[in-house]
Symmetry: D3
Subunit: 131 residues, 6 copies
């Protein structure tokens, strides 16, 4: 796994890597795998580990699938990660995010980044009721 | 408004500041105002402006109120803003966030911050299907 | 130099460290040295190097001294560095920053952090005229 | 408003959007509008809200217009926001920023980001005099 | 798992949680467990998952254990995470980090954060030879 | 020095700039200079200052040269600085970083960014033993 590595396609993947790709496609009910996994595949233990984490964290739980994607996007927008915004924006639209919801997400992420800096600048003491 | 400013309490606030405090309490159906606003009050135009923004962005819309708070928390955790995590964690619990949902939020925010760095490190090319 | 190191006071400092402290006090026309330097002093090459950098970058130039401090604060607020906000806020007030100017600084830093995230979220193409 | 949205040009804009564009051009005494606003225009309430914020925060005040732009750039450089660095760099040059001033800005922003991390690493106790 | 949760001590832990604590102590050849794990323990699946990740990523590999801790600290210092700097600074000292090495680590992390901003500010084109 | 400045090549550089370029090439035992320095060259005092800092901080010390580059990369990946990841990745490979070591670096940086956010989210109290 080196920077600017070439994605490893299914046809040239080892059986261990193919097994992960197969599970990604089955879990997502789709016929393709995105570059994140195809580049992680240069280091199979990381591919296996990250897919297991992703499946557990983003899978069914107390938060619905769309909310999970919105949280993911909020982080990715804050960090300015272009790939992550594109991939999780795609996933969110696939899970039903409307343009109106996207506009609200962007507005909240912007506002939170603003007020976070007000809190830093003013060294706000945490209110007793919040503890 | 200076660093380590003293919060301005209702009793010593100007009528313009009181008007904002009154609207905050009415909108939130509560009897108190948290330090963020009481310290912004040293500069009334900022107090007025930020409350107007907050009310519009966090008010009723296409995303439900709890989801909005979770997005706010995701940003605040990513930035390490203690005050913001405390205040929006309080708001989220008030709007029904369960301990299980909180645990999932924390897990997603952690995972997204991890994979964001994988994407940076590997300079991932954005998949054609994501555009 | 280790975490939670004790500040090295003038009386117990080596001649090389005292020489830097003397220059800090002479340059700033003051009789004390703040903790940043007194803790860096555990590694004298870093103390010497950072003071030389600071003196050159923050010294007289095309930007006036107060503007330089405001820029420093903008960075420190964005990063949430409590020590840096406190020390450069002190320096800025010493150089004439008024409460009104401080309030405007905080507002700009907040707004910029907000619009930065809008730009990330929307993957804005850079306008031809900006190039 | 979705990622990779097409900028909405004046000729195809609604009257509400045109009114904001008109005010942007009149306020800036120019004949064009940059992409930030033309993409926000997919969600008119955000367009209106952000322009009102920007006009208030970046307008006449206790800090001169160039200083305001330099603060904006300091934030944008710290966050690595390419669009924002380009747009506010353009604005700063328009308001008189010289190459020498730009070089000093870059040097200060770099230095502040460096010393911010020294402060984090060493967990510096805030000096009594700074409080 | 909620903010400001109480650490779960061994005596009051469930068998599943105790099993992770036992493995942490055995792997580290020590008799105690730090707060990170004792607070994650409020959500056993996250405790189990994160310990498995940590053990795999920080275990024996192509990078020696001290280098791994220094990389961990570089990230934590950049993010300003006090807990992480304290815990991984402890681990690094335990694995042999000298005060001189610590001083060099802090200097490099500061310098890298500085030059990162120069690169952002100047929008540096990547040299052909680096590709 | 302005944004999108043209790199200053050796043939058109002033004697003062050439002296720095010569030292860079001699120190690195190579025949070329990368864009970071060629663009800093628009402001010779910054060129001279940063090269002196870089030479001192990244030169021989208590940490070996490869470890220094890995720490530099950890910061650059965390900040998402493409140029810096490319240039220090090149330097690290030149100093012997193997693909396996690179994969482990990426995994550690990802994990540390994840656990940093867990620490922020849970507001972890620092263990007494870490102090």
């Amino acid at each position: 796994m080196s920077a600017n590595a070439t994605p490893i396609e299914y046809v040239s993947a080892s059986p261990a890597v193919r097994a992960v790709y197969d599970d990604i496609m089955a879990t997502r009910n789709t016929d393709w795998v995105n570059n994140y996994w195809k580049i992680l595949a240069h280091h199979p233990p990381t591919l296996r580990r990250m897919w297991a984490n992703s499946k557990e964290v983003m899978g069914a739980g107390a938060l619905d699938p769309l909310t999970k994607e919105l949280i993911y996007m909020a982080v990715s927008i804050t960090n300015g990660c272009r790939y992550c915004i594109a991939s999780h924006g795609f996933a969110a639209r696939h899970k039903g995010m409307t343009p109106q919801q996207h506009a609200e997400l962007v507005a909240i992420v912007g506002l939170a980044n603003e007020t976070n800096r007000h809190a830093f600048a003013l060294d706000l003491p945490i209110d007793e009721r919040f503890r």
